[in-house]
């Protein structure tokens, strides 16, 4: 583990590791003191035509932790999230500069297949988007796509249990995914994302379209997921970020990463005045 950190240190000229080393795990259940880095960005910029959506982002996303990205709307946090598994490739006119390292490999290298990348880094979207298929087929989708068709039923059940949906749908697996409530649909989408067993799960405001009860279920679920997965979640709900995340990154208007660190520290004692203003609701 330490070797890993050292190796990244060598590559990283900024020498920000000191801060990382001191990090203690906060709200999560894991008792590691040193962190493996799952995803690291270096001088990441994204342009939509002439507009720079995010500028010079340097960030290390720890493994098997929940990292929250917060900030006012239009601050580039969703754009940043989509860079990690190259979903920006789907958007015409988006241009990415800089590096996104996934275990040290730049995912924007020419030899990287975005399809293979997304098999390691799954994603859940703001609006639940189940396929117009049965619940079973929704969850099994990624497995079938990736050719993991052995013991399909068990894998589906496991994913649905992990997504805390099994008890509600176990008797209607052949019913349409579209017949579920909004909150159930979102958990179905989470089950779909985790079924093929990716390493990282990206979540783009997964609870913003849901009611409070459904939201709290999703939050509990995210907490559970961080035991097995690295979770990066975009939210504009600061309380949510405070409740569920280990690390928090604050983006402010203009696509800048203003502060990144332990969630407790960010919310209790931020370094930057702008972040404090934002967190205390003075703007944004």
């Amino acid at each position: 583990m330490s070797e890993k950190t050292v190796e990244i240190d060598v590559e990283n000229e900024r020498g920000e590791t000191q801060e990382q080393d001191e990090t203690r795990d906060g709200a999560g259940g894991n008792e590691t003191t040193r962190e493996e880095v799952a995803v690291e960005t270096r001088n990441l910029n994204v342009w939509y035509g002439e507009d720079r959506a995010i500028r010079d982002i340097n960030m290390k996303v720890p493994e098997k932790k929940v990292t929250a990205l917060i900030g006012p709307s239009g601050c580039g946090k969703s754009t940043f999230l989509r860079c990690i598994n190259r979903m920006n490739d789907q958007i015409d006119g988006a241009r990415v500069e800089g590096e996104v390292l996934f275990h040290g490999k730049n995912v924007y290298d020419d030899d990287v297949d975005p399809v293979a990348l997304r098999r390691r880094i799954g994603m859940v979207f703001q609006k639940p988007n189940p396929f117009p298929k049965s619940i079973r087929d929704n969850v099994a989708y990624g497995l079938k796509i990736q050719g993991k068709t052995d013991s399909l039923d068990e894998r589906v059940e496991t994913a649905l249990r992990q997504a805390a949906l099994w008890d509600e749908v176990s008797d209607q697996l052949d019913g349409s995914g579209l017949d579920l409530s909004g909150g159930q649909q979102q958990r179905l989408c989470i089950a779909r994302a985790i079924a093929p067993d990716p390493e990282v799960i990206l979540m783009d405001e997964p609870a913003s379209a849901l009611d409070p009860v459904a939201t709290s279920k999703i939050e509990d679920l995210i907490d559970d997921l961080s035991r097995d997965y690295t979770v990066v979640i975009v939210t504009h709900n600061m309380q949510q970020a405070a409740r569920i995340s280990d690390k928090t990154a604050v983006f402010l208007t203009g696509g800048e990463l203003v502060e990144f660190g332990d969630t407790e520290k960010i919310f209790e004692n931020p370094e930057s005045q702008k972040v404090e203003d934002y967190i205390t609701g003075k703007f944004g």
Binding site: K4, H103, G104, D109, V112, L117
Partner: protein, 331 residues
């Protein structure tokens, strides 16, 4: 251990994982591109075949034969074809002046436009500006049915009803002499069958005019009729003109209804009560006649077909131009 992790990740992202799926994706893309290419090939084939065969109508050899070195012989002059006023391919002294056929086609087209344009436009205004949901729910499907009736049925309608029950009794009482096959019946049925084209495309254009514009006019004290004709109509003029062009283009290419209704006698006339022949009707007559390949009659089919295609193609391009030139963009 961690270098292992890096290598493993690198292998996963660049290696075998999705390679098979990638290859499949490549093959499928090529196949689908091939499908799209078929549509392009169709257009090219129409051009090539019509020009190739029409060439032999004028020069005795098909174009590709001429290019391969066959000697040309002058058959029908291009000028004679385009300006001659007598079309008599079966005559002992045949003539191949296409103007009588063009005359027939234009006569039908203009007459049909006098029916479909005013009625179609008024229908569009009614549907877009006046009609209640319930009335729309009846009118629109009815117009769709009208558009879906095969043209051969319109032809039957013309000779079994329009001519004997309507045109002949009415106009013979008025002192006209009306032949059984007559241009007027063709105009009426082609007019009717193109009403839905005018009305539906115009209505779409009118419905796209934002209500703000209407409300602004109402706010100035305009009546509903003034809003319809002075605000909505000008604001949607590009869509309306496009619908007219499409209807006219359709009328030019219309075949079976005019063949049955208007007959097979090519002549230069503006009298709607006599038998005429359109370009399309001539093509049907020719194709029925089993003219042997290589004869001038057979080749004339392609000369007329090429002219027809060029005319409708120009209409389509004009339509495209109008839509782009006068497009109003509302947000």
């Amino acid at each position: 251990m961690s270098t292992g992790k890096k290598d493993e990740t690198e292998a996963a992202l660049t290696g075998e994982v999705a390679r098979g799926d990638r290859r499949k994706q490549y093959v499928v893309t090529r196949v689908l591109q091939g499908c799209a290419a078929v549509t392009i090939a169709t257009t090219l084939a129409i051009f090539a075949v019509l020009i190739d065969n029409a060439f032999s109508f004028f020069y005795g050899q098909r174009l590709h034969e001429a290019i391969l070195g066959a000697t040309l012989e002058s058959r029908v002059g291009v000028v004679e074809f385009l300006t001659g006023t007598r079309w008599a391919p079966y005559h002992a002294f045949p003539d191949y002046g296409v103007l009588p056929l063009l005359n027939g086609t234009l006569l039908i087209t203009v007459g049909a436009a006098f029916i479909s344009i005013p009625i179609g436009t008024a229908t569009a205004i009614y549907l877009s500006e006046y009609a209640s949901e319930r009335v729309r729910g009846v009118l629109k499907p009815t117009l769709e049915v009208l558009a879906g009736i095969p043209t051969i049925v319109y032809g039957f309608f013309a000779i079994s009803f329009i001519t004997p029950v309507f045109i002949r009794p009415v106009f013979e009482t008025l002192g006209f002499s009306v032949s059984f096959y007559n241009a007027f019946a063709g105009m009426v049925v082609v007019g009717i069958m193109t009403i839905p084209m005018v009305s539906s495309i115009s209505e779409d254009a009118m419905s796209a005019v934002p209500d703000d514009l209407r409300n602004a006019a109402y706010g100035l004290g305009a009546t509903k009729q003034e809003v319809s004709t002075q605000v909505v109509l000008p604001a949607s003029i590009s869509g309306i003109l496009a619908s007219y062009i499409l209807a006219v283009s359709r009328a030019i290419g219309e075949t079976m209804a005019v063949t049955l209704a208007a007959g097979h006698r090519s002549q230069m006339t503006l009298n709607p009560f006599v038998e005429i022949q359109t370009m399309t009707a001539y093509m049907v007559q020719m194709a029925r006649g089993e003219a042997a390949m290589g004869t001038v009659e057979y080749q004339s089919l392609f000369a007329v077909g090429l002219l027809l295609f060029v005319i409708t193609l120009s209409m389509n391009l004009l339509n495209d131009w109008v839509k782009r030139r006068y497009r109003e963009v509302y947000r």
